[in-house]
């Protein structure tokens, strides 16, 4: 729209209502958080490299695992998907911007506020001025109520602010998708990334308020004498776990559904075939979302639920792997007999399919109640969720970044370096997480700073893999920097005949696009 000049300088970023600028801020923010959370992971791995206590005290170690988890989940993975949604959804559905642009700006700027509060607590802890949250990213009561350090209260309010950000972001996404599609873009013509985000946004609006409820009850138990999670007053600490996981399980799908959308977008491009089973992908996503509300207690098989309860949640959890399997099948069928080439986004996507499936399979093992009673709270669980989150969610974000970077910046990235980033990450990530399965099956507990001697060799290699993976991510910074600075000019199509409206506009995408909606046939 011609009526606003495009201001420059820092105000442009502080006050912007443009979906592309806000999308970029989200992405950069999540990248920064990825490195902050990664730093904590390095502390953890340094401590665990050898048995015995070498670097940090147990309480500080707990603070590292806690803040690593919180920052990665809420600060790195979630905002990166919101950033992609901001950038791509309007381009994919032919809309001029997000439906509620000011709200969009607010959703973003709440994040630095929330994480500022959290990171301040961590810095204080580094300086020896009081403990940061130390009760695990799942903040179970009573660890977080009776025994939480004073910083817990700041953590609670920070979670509230993250929650407002997520809910407002999700409202914006839903309204944009339902109300802003270009003429002819019917629901069943929407790109899968848009579909998966629509369902993710629904999950966010449904469960983030439940998380807000949980931390609110925590705050009351801590300060106002209530007994929600205190059996002496007729409450129940197990109830905390129910409420948390009612949020928590849908939350893990919030972190993977957009990834499914990304992979479903990229594989057809480089297999040069349309996606196999579009409709079944949509239905599978919807069923996963529905089922994700009734599997939460698979995180609680050892708390002493009634037998019928354990059985119900075991069967439901196994059921959820059916639609997940449908998806994996469709991706493979899309590649089957395709004219495949292996550009960097495709490499990350194929790695995703293989490694995410490994995570799904270990999930299935964990879903079997009697087996989980052995595996629970061991490194096997850590291996499971890092396969689905790092080689799943994070790899998909890398795939997306490489796929759309030329569209965003107008320049091709340095392919050699990007491939180096891929291979270095791929190898190190498996050295890092694969042995965790074995130490886990050997029953090394998670969240401990020291361990019995028999786990020493494996942990040494895990740490080596960890440092290597951490270093490999610096390559991405170099690729990104070079790509923003210059490089071979990208065409508007970038790749060979990719599907989607985003490829009909020039590269780099101009600040305002689709001011007149395109017609979709």
């Amino acid at each position: 729209m011609a009526h606003h000049a495009n201001p420059t300088g820092f105000k442009r970023w502080l006050l912007t209502t443009n979906h592309k600028e806000i999308g970029s801020m989200y992405l950069l923010f999540s990248l920064a958080m990825f490195f902050v959370g990664g730093f904590m992971a390095m502390v953890i791995r340094a401590e665990l490299m050898y048995p015995g206590l070498q670097l940090v005290q147990p309480d500080f170690f707990n603070q590292m695992t806690t803040t690593h988890g919180l920052i990665m989940v809420f600060g790195a993975v979630m905002p990166s998907f919101v950033g992609l949604a901001n950038w791509m959804i309007p381009l994919m559905i032919g809309a001029p911007d997000m439906a509620l642009p000011r709200l969009n700006n607010w959703s973003f700027w709440l994040l630095p506020v929330a994480f500022g509060i959290l990171i301040f607590a961590i810095i204080k802890s580094f300086l020896g001025l009081g403990a940061a949250p130390n009760f695990g990213w799942t903040f179970y009561a009573p660890l977080s109520t009776s025994y939480g350090p004073p910083s817990t209260d700041f953590f609670i309010l920070s979670v509230h602010i993250m929650g407002i950000s997520s809910i407002m972001g999700a409202v914006n996404v839903i309204v944009t998708i339902i109300n802003m599609r270009a003429p002819g873009m019917t629901m069943m013509k929407m790109p899968l990334f848009v579909w998966t985000w629509l369902i993710t946004a629904f999950l966010l609006i449904a469960v983030i308020p439940v998380l807000a409820g949980a931390v609110t009850m925590m705050l009351f138990d801590r300060h106002f004498g209530t007994s929600f999670f205190d059996a002496a007053g007729g409450g129940d600490p197990v109830m905390f776990q129910h409420i948390f996981w009612f949020f928590g399980h849908p939350e893990v799908y919030i972190m993977i559904l957009p990834a499914f959308g990304i992979i479903s977008t990229i594989i057809p491009t480089f297999a040069r075939k349309p996606l196999f089973g579009y409709a079944s992908m949509v239905y599978a996503t919807a069923s996963i979302a529905f089922l994700s509300f009734i599997v939460w207690a698979h995180h609680m098989f050892t708390v002493g639920l009634p037998l019928q309860g354990n059985l119900f949640f075991m069967y439901m959890t196994m059921l959820i792997s059916v639609p997940t399997g449908v998806k994996v099948f469709n991706w493979i069928a899309t590649m089957w007999r395709g004219a495949m080439t292996f550009e960097v986004p495709m490499l990350f996507s194929i790695a995703f399919v293989v490694l995410f499936t490994i995570g799904g399979l270990s999930g299935l093992m964990l879903a079997i109640t009697p087996a989980d009673q052995q595996y629970h709270d061991t490194y096997f669980v850590v291996a499971h969720f890092h396969y689905v989150l790092v080689t799943g969610a994070i790899f998909s974000v890398y795939a997306a970044a490489y796929y759309w970077l030329p569209k965003w910046t107008g320049n091709m990235f340095h392919t050699g370096l990007a491939k180096f980033h891929f291979w270095a990450s791929l190898i190190s990530v498996n050295v890092l997480f694969f042995p965790m399965h074995f130490v886990g099956l050997g029953s090394m507990p998670r969240r401990i700073p020291d361990y019995p001697l028999q786990f020493a060799d494996m942990n040494f290699w895990i740490s080596i893999g960890g440092f290597a993976f951490g270093l490999s991510q610096i390559i991405f910074l170099v690729v990104l920097y070079k790509c923003v600075k210059g490089g071979e000019k990208a065409t508007s199509e970038v790749w060979e005949n990719p599907e989607g409206l985003e490829w009909t506009i020039p590269s780099p995408a101009p600040l305002h696009t689709f001011e007149v909606p395109p017609t979709v046939k």
Binding site: P96, R222, F228, G234
Partner: protein, 300 residues
């Protein structure tokens, strides 16, 4: 696009100019969070936090938030009066409000879920039901499972709130308020502003009376019945549910009051009155929560 910005025409899609309010609002929340956490810690003696001025910071934050809301809403009102709101945008606003209310429903769902969980599982289990006979025996063998729980496992006792009396009156107040609001809503659709003002005023006054009664009920609970936040799980759930509901009534009543002023200023037309509608939906939501609450918290 030239075609869309011809003077006097509503643009097809209006990208608002840059705005200072979102980031100011984010900063206001930062001040509230820092002040609030310090304030709570100081006033409940958990942590001394000397010299952090929690209460004052918290107050400043709240004030800043109010200013921001005023500024932000003012911006949207000016746009709306300036004819910038296309049909598409007003649909976006309506959907946005609808989904926001859904998120509020889920917020209350967490608390209602806690209530059901406590009544159906925790209390019977503490009393030894299921396979919990040993737990019961070892922890609090004298504990009796019943609801409302007027005697906690560790021996605190108090009275419970009867539904007949103030809560029943309150139910009537809110429902009647909802009816008057609906009459006002129908009036706005036909442009009868005088009728809107009259009925909306009644709806608002009933809302404020509700809040007064609720405050009196709390006072009564604390002073005469020994029913406090400290009264085990019954008191916890009672005050959490009614308290958050009361907070929402307060917000809703403020929203309706603003709508009254805006109606008086002639802001709304039969076609363009999104804000009124949003406030009305919010009020009905608060109404429904109360009815639910009356049944499961007070009555059953």
């Amino acid at each position: 696009m030239a075609a869309q910005t011809e003077p006097g025409k509503t643009p097809l899609y209006y990208v608002p100019a840059q705005s200072v309010w979102p980031i100011y609002t984010a900063i206001a929340l930062l001040i509230i969070a820092i002040g609030g956490a310090n304030f709570i810690q100081q006033s409940t003696d958990k942590v001394a936090n000397e010299g952090t001025l929690g209460g004052a910071t918290f107050a400043v934050g709240l004030f800043a938030l109010l200013v921001c809301m005023w500024g932000w809403f003012r911006e949207t009102v000016v746009e709306s009066l300036g004819g910038k709101n296309s049909t598409q945008l007003s649909i976006s606003y309506r959907m946005g409000m609808g989904w926001f209310i859904f998120s509020e429903v889920m917020f209350f769902a967490a608390f209602f879920g806690a209530l059901f969980y406590t009544r159906l599982l925790t209390i019977p289990w503490l009393g030894g039901a299921g396979n919990n006979a040993m737990t019961h025996e070892l922890l609090w063998p004298q504990f009796q499972a019943f609801w409302p729980l007027t005697l906690t496992p560790d021996g605190r006792t108090f009275e419970v709130m009867s539904p007949w009396g103030l809560p029943a009156i309150n139910t009537l107040l809110l429902v009647t308020s909802g009816v008057f609001l609906t009459i006002a809503h129908h009036a706005i659709k036909v442009g009868d502003n005088a009728k809107v003002l009259k009925n909306l005023a009644i709806a608002i006054i009933l809302g404020f009376i509700f809040m007064g009664v609720q405050a009196y009920e709390y006072h009564h609970a604390y002073v005469e019945m020994g029913l406090t936040l400290n009264s085990g799980i019954y008191g916890s759930l009672f005050f959490l549910l009614t308290g958050f509901h009361g907070l929402h009534v307060t917000i809703g009543a403020i929203m309706l009051t603003v709508m009254w002023v805006r109606t008086a200023k002639g802001h709304f037309t039969p076609e363009n009155h999104f804000a009124f509608e949003a406030a009305a939906w919010y009020w009905h939501f608060v109404d429904v929560v109360w009815i639910f609450l009356f049944f499961v918290v007070y009555w059953l």
